[in-house]
Structures are given as structure tokens and as C-alpha cells.
Symmetry: none
Subunit: 306 residues, 2 copies
């Protein structure tokens, strides 16, 4: 009945298996139960496991100690981490050691590393299967739209701006809802069915963004939301909601994952537009070159044809 193929994490079960022969009988019984039911370690109470393994509770404590853990808790934690659903972080686990070293060096360094880690994890997570499916759905909506409006306020404004900017490199039907003197919303005046609103909003949701998205939905526009929860007020209004986590070890919510989602979204649309998008981008480049918008070692030199 032991099923070692699905074993939690190899290092730990290996460790147990290796120590097994030299263990006293009762500890072996306990160890065996752990090997056979790795998940239970994280999900059941210690006493419950002891009950099922047919040993007194102390034995579990002793086993953990024997294996080199200070606590039963730290033993359990290890199994719990292994059990967590691929919180993509696992892929970056080789960086865990780095974090240790940095923590020793400076707390600032550790904080920075942790923030970066969290962001990377969130991005990987929001680009998993479910996430990419939503992204594709959103891309399809936007691709077919007559006009595309981008709306992001306060902390999300940068995301809306960037999405609109990149989108504008290959399409001319995008509008950023952001005007001086609070006139930004006027652009929606002629919008309706067949148009799409891309709204970016994370907690705390700005009232204006929510209300305007609701208004757009009422107009019959399709709404694409980049937001932080499936129960966020804008997700409720949206045909497609792209979910991005925002929690971070810092004071602020991380906007980076939303930014990443927006970039991927626009890139997807570009990829689908294919040759056409490429041409548009080349045109844009030539135009910018004409104004020497971009820097080159010697100003004004033409690009090598490569």
C-alpha cells in the first residue's frame, strides 16, 4: 500500500527512508505512516496522525526530533509547503538560499529580494493555464472591437497609459480615458455596442473607475477587467477578467503584476494581428526616426539595414 511515487518532496522522504533502518520499532511505525501518507502530515493534527498510525502522540514528536527538526511544527511546515498548489514560487526555489544570505547581510536587501520574488511569483501565477485563457478571451474581444478605451486611475493609471501606448503602436482605435480637467470620460460619449472598455482597478478601487465601468457596461460595451479578485466590483461587470495578485511584503500593493498582464495582453493582440501589426510598427518607427526621437551614438544617423 505504500505509494512512494507520489511522495511529497524527494529530499524529505529520502531523508526519512534513509534514517528508517536505524530507527527503533515504534518510530519506524510512525515514520512509515508519514512515508505512506505524506499529505496527512500537513492536513491532520499530530494526535490524529498518531491515532491512525497506532502510536501514542509523543512518538510523532520524537520522530520529528529524530529527523533533525526542532519542532513538530517545522516538520509539518515543510510538508505543507510541498503540498501547496504549485504556487509557482517552487520554480524559483533555488533563490531561497540567496534570500537567506541576503537576510544575513542586510534587511533592506532581503526586503527587496522578497518583493521581487513575490512579483515574479504573481506574474508566473497569473500566466498559468487559467490566466492565459482569460488573456486570450480578452485579446479576442479587444481585437474585434471598433474602439478600445483604456481606463485606469491613480495607482492603475500607469498601466492604462502603457497599454494604450503600446496598443497605439500598431492600431489607431485606442483611446486613453484621461483628460485634463476631468474631461477624460467625455470620450465615451459616442461609445456603445461593439466597443470595448479595458479597465484596470485593484484595491482600493477608485469610485470613479467603478462607476464609469458600470456606465460603459450599461451602454452595451464589452468590458475587460484587469483586477485583483474575481469578486472585485469591476470583475462583476466584465466579460473577461484577468486576475492579478497584488500582495507584497511592502507597504503598497504591487501594481507590477497588473502591468505585466497588460503587456502580455497587448502583445497577444499584436501577435494575432501578425504581419499587419509588424508593418504598422515599422511605419511608426520610421516616423519617429524622422523626428530623431530615438537616441543613437551619433545623432541623425540612419539605421543600418542589417
Amino acid at each position: 500500500m505504500p505509494d512512494l511515487t507520489s511522495a511529497a518532496d524527494p529530499s524529505l522522504s529520502d531523508r526519512i527512508a534513509q534514517a528508517f533502518p536505524s530507527l527503533p520499532p515504534q518510530l519506524q511505525a510512525a515514520a512509515r505512516f508519514v512515508l505512506d501518507h505524506p499529505d496527512d502530515v500537513a492536513l491532520l493534527s499530530m494526535r490524529e496522525q498518531a491515532r491512525r498510525a497506532g502510536v501514542p502522540p509523543v512518538t510523532m514528536t520524537r520522530l520529528a526530533r529524530q529527523l533533525g527538526f526542532a519542532d513538530y511544527a517545522s516538520f509539518r511546515d515543510l510538508q505543507a509547503t510541498a503540498l501547496r498548489r504549485p504556487s509557482h514560487t517552487a520554480e524559483f526555489s533555488h533563490r531561497a538560499g540567496q534570500l537567506q544570505r541576503q537576510k544575513a547581510q542586510s534587511s533592506d536587501g532581503a526586503l527587496a529580494a522578497q518583493i521581487g520574488w513575490a512579483m515574479a511569483d504573481h506574474i508566473a501565477g497569473s500566466h498559468d493555464e487559467a490566466g492565459t485563457a482569460e488573456l486570450i478571451a480578452a485579446a479576442t474581444l479587444i481585437e474585434k472591437a471598433r474602439k478600445v478605451y483604456f481606463l485606469g486611475l491613480r495607482s492603475c493609471h500607469a498601466v492604462a497609459f502603457h497599454a494604450q501606448y503600446v496598443h497605439g503602436l500598431f492600431r489607431d482605435n485606442g483611446v486613453l480615458l484621461d483628460g485634463a480637467g476631468d474631461t477624460g470620460f467625455d470620450a465615451l460619449r459616442h461609445a456603445g455596442t461593439g466597443d470595448v472598455l479595458v479597465v484596470i482597478s485593484v484595491e482600493p478601487y477608485t469610485t470613479a473607475a467603478v462607476e464609469r465601468a458600470a456606465y460603459a457596461a450599461r451602454l452595451g460595451m464589452a468590458v475587460v477587467a484587469i483586477t485583483d479578485s474575481r469578486v472585485s466590483p469591476v470583475a462583476a461587470l466584465a466579460q473577461a477578467s484577468i486576475l492579478v495578485p497584488t500582495d507584497t511584503p511592502s507597504f503598497f500593493h504591487a501594481i507590477t503584476p497588473a502591468f505585466a498582464a497588460a503587456e502580455t495582453l497587448i502583445a497577444l493582440i499584436a501577435a494575432r494581428s501578425g504581419e499587419q501589426a509588424l508593418n504598422a510598427i515599422r511605419n511608426a518607427e520610421h516616423q519617429l526616426d524622422a523626428f530623431s526621437t530615438y537616441w543613437s551614438r551619433r545623432p541623425q544617423r540612419r539605421k543600418p539595414k542589417s
Copy 2:
């Protein structure tokens, strides 16, 4: 083989999402945490979850009841079962498998996943030891500055905007160099030694950004650069250069890593300012509350003390 590795158990989260709108605010907070961290339900104690969700313990009990469970225990059991590994599944690299499946499904999905992976990787990479050291150096410069100017044009504008916005939540000495009618640069007129310019620029570097950064350096300002190469024109001018990769499987350069670096940078400064920054942020929040800038289903309630 069913894919249980990703996405929580749909039935339960659907149930929560469905009941969500009719839930009172505090229960929503709890429900939201559960939706966003499904694994924690099984792995953490109820009280610990309540702590993290920022609600009193009772609320978790009430949530379970409200959802139709007799107990919190039965609620947890359901999540635990969903979390358990099917016992005979071979363990394989989850990500590789996912990519395979997505490639089979659609090339769009694969592209999105690859872009996401590239971004996550870049961010993790730019937050390694060397990267964080540079971030800390930059944070130190900015922290001590009299005035902080943010400059990012075109594709980098969003980054500059966001950095300035978040910085402005706890400090009043930040200026975004971006004015209508190309007047943005005028703000530098009174700048000089003791001030800092944060310039964000990646290939293709906008001429204006490079020239203005050079001008700032000539004025005696310290320059912090977020850029894509050690030999980029702005890195040469900078006291501290934060390097961010921008390559991606899509048409465009990825700006997300630069965005992430900026977010981390500002978060670091906030962390160093400590209590002071927190207070400033609280003040900002109160001010925004007064104008009901942020959305809430019903007027805000006070937070429990944990």
C-alpha cells in the same frame, strides 16, 4: 489524467463567488481572502487566517455557517480534500507539463505563458544580490535628496509616472518631468546639487531623455537610472544604475521588469522612512476618504486591531 494541480476546486469557489455579493462587508473580506488563498484554508488554523485576512476569528466561523456548512471544520475538510494529491500521480515538473499542454491547445496560450515566464524570470533576476545592492544604493540616494525628479518618456513614461505617484503617497518632494506642450522639463530649472533625477530609459532610448539626463548630470544632480544595459547612454551618467532585461518572445520590449524595479525601489524608500512614511500614507488615505475617492459597497468601517 485530470489536472488537479491548478485552480482550486471549482465548485466551492464558485459557491463562494456566487454568494459573495449578498454577504455583509466583513464576511466579504473573509470570503475574499479564502478565494484568493484557497490553500491556506486547509493548511492554516482558522485564527491564523482571520489574522491574515484582517478580521476577527468569529468572522471565519460565521462565513462557514453562511455558506451552509455546519462547522468550520467541514468547510476546511472540503478544501483539504481538494488539496490532497491523487495518490498515484507521478510527480513531474509542473511547469513543463503545463507548457506542453498549452502548446497543444493554442499557440496563443503558449505565447502568453512564455511571455509571463520571461517577465517573472527577469524580475527575479534583477532582484538578485547584485540587483538589490544597486536598488539599495539608489534608495539611499533618493532618500537623502532634496528634490526627486522622475523622467521617463514614451514606453517608459508609465514607469516614471507610477514611481512618482507612489513616491508622492508619502513624500512631497517628488516631481514628474512631464508637462503639456513640452514644458515638462522646465521644472528642472531650479535643480542642482543635492537633487536626484530618476531616469527610466530602455532601448530604443529616446533622445530627449538622454539629453535631459546629461543636462541634469551637468547641473550636479545625482542620477539614478533604470535601464537595460550597463552601457546604455543613461547608465553612463548615473551614480546608480538598476539593470533590467527587456527581451521577450513578443514583438515588444518588456517594460514590466523596469516597472517592477521602480516599484521595489519606492517600496524600499518607504520601508526606510518607517513610521513617518506610514503616517503620511494614512494621512493621504484619510484625505482621499474625505472625497470618497475609493469605492466601498457601504461606507467604510474601521479595521479590527487584529
